[in-house]
Symmetry: C3
Subunit: 130 residues, 3 copies
Amino acid sequence: MHELRVKTRSRNDLVDITAEVQKAVSDSGVDDGVCLLFVPHTTAAVTINEGADPAVRQDIEAELDKVFPWRDGYAHAEGNSAAHIKTSLVGSSETVIVGGGRLILGTWQSIYFCEFDGPRDRKVYVRVTA
Amino acid sequence: MHELRVKTRSRNDLVDITAEVQKAVSDSGVDDGVCLLFVPHTTAAVTINEGADPAVRQDIEAELDKVFPWRDGYAHAEGNSAAHIKTSLVGSSETVIVGGGRLILGTWQSIYFCEFDGPRDRKVYVRVTA
Amino acid sequence: MHELRVKTRSRNDLVDITAEVQKAVSDSGVDDGVCLLFVPHTTAAVTINEGADPAVRQDIEAELDKVFPWRDGYAHAEGNSAAHIKTSLVGSSETVIVGGGRLILGTWQSIYFCEFDGPRDRKVYVRVTA
């Protein structure tokens, strides 16, 4: 299992980690298999989405904020329930197929670490298997 | 494949099943591998989120109800479309890494069975592989 | 790895692909294992939900449109940010257990390809492993 470190810079922050995940795949020596990504936090998640236009991740961050507002009469005293809710919707894990030592992603796909309660120092677990 | 039984007590009910999943992992004898969870229902899901403060799961249940209301002019005659929608967003499966015979979860993470149309008797499939 | 082709017919289109996925499982010759589905697009996803009443998928499509409107002041010039957002929430991958050469789904479960920016010609990657 590899462990990636991600430094997030704001409350919401979608960080493109595709290159780091690809490096973990290359380091694993696995040619054909799967790459499992797991985020061990409860206010951060992982997703796959467009990497070309940064406006896409801005729109994802802003729309999720609009639909699941930071303040909305939540019971949880820490005040970050919106981040917990987004985490359960986006999800803590993602699986990508590996072929020829490469992540088999679509043309426009990048892998994003999704911070919903930053800025923080975060981790992602990567497990590559044949 | 192990099969867990979950009894839910209300329409929305996030039930912490971490201990039962860990038991399935221990019973499997797998030391290092992955644990796949699969919910074979269409109005229930599985997620990973904070297990320490019960207010977190209350906030998740309440906010999802607010955003995806139980009555909202749905076409489905059974009247439980909100539960189907939440199920597709939270998701039917989850994968957790296993190391040293233990689920490798973050400090605050618990595994929740998510009931959205209870109370009911439910099942979760657990597959642990090396 | 198998590759399925899916033709979608409208902007939102949940297409039942259970039979095609089962065929890929059968063709793989794998008796017991897992079937990983991966959608290599950024405005389409995969989910598991009720296959019996078509009103369920209509309600999913309509409610997601209501909550994440097509026009909502998005920054992304292509104008399809709502489709990107829904994709990250529903998710790009799904894993199903295989037993006796069959997908182990619940009684009411079907596998749906979820188009959010169609109509288009789409692909789904299927990887079946023992």
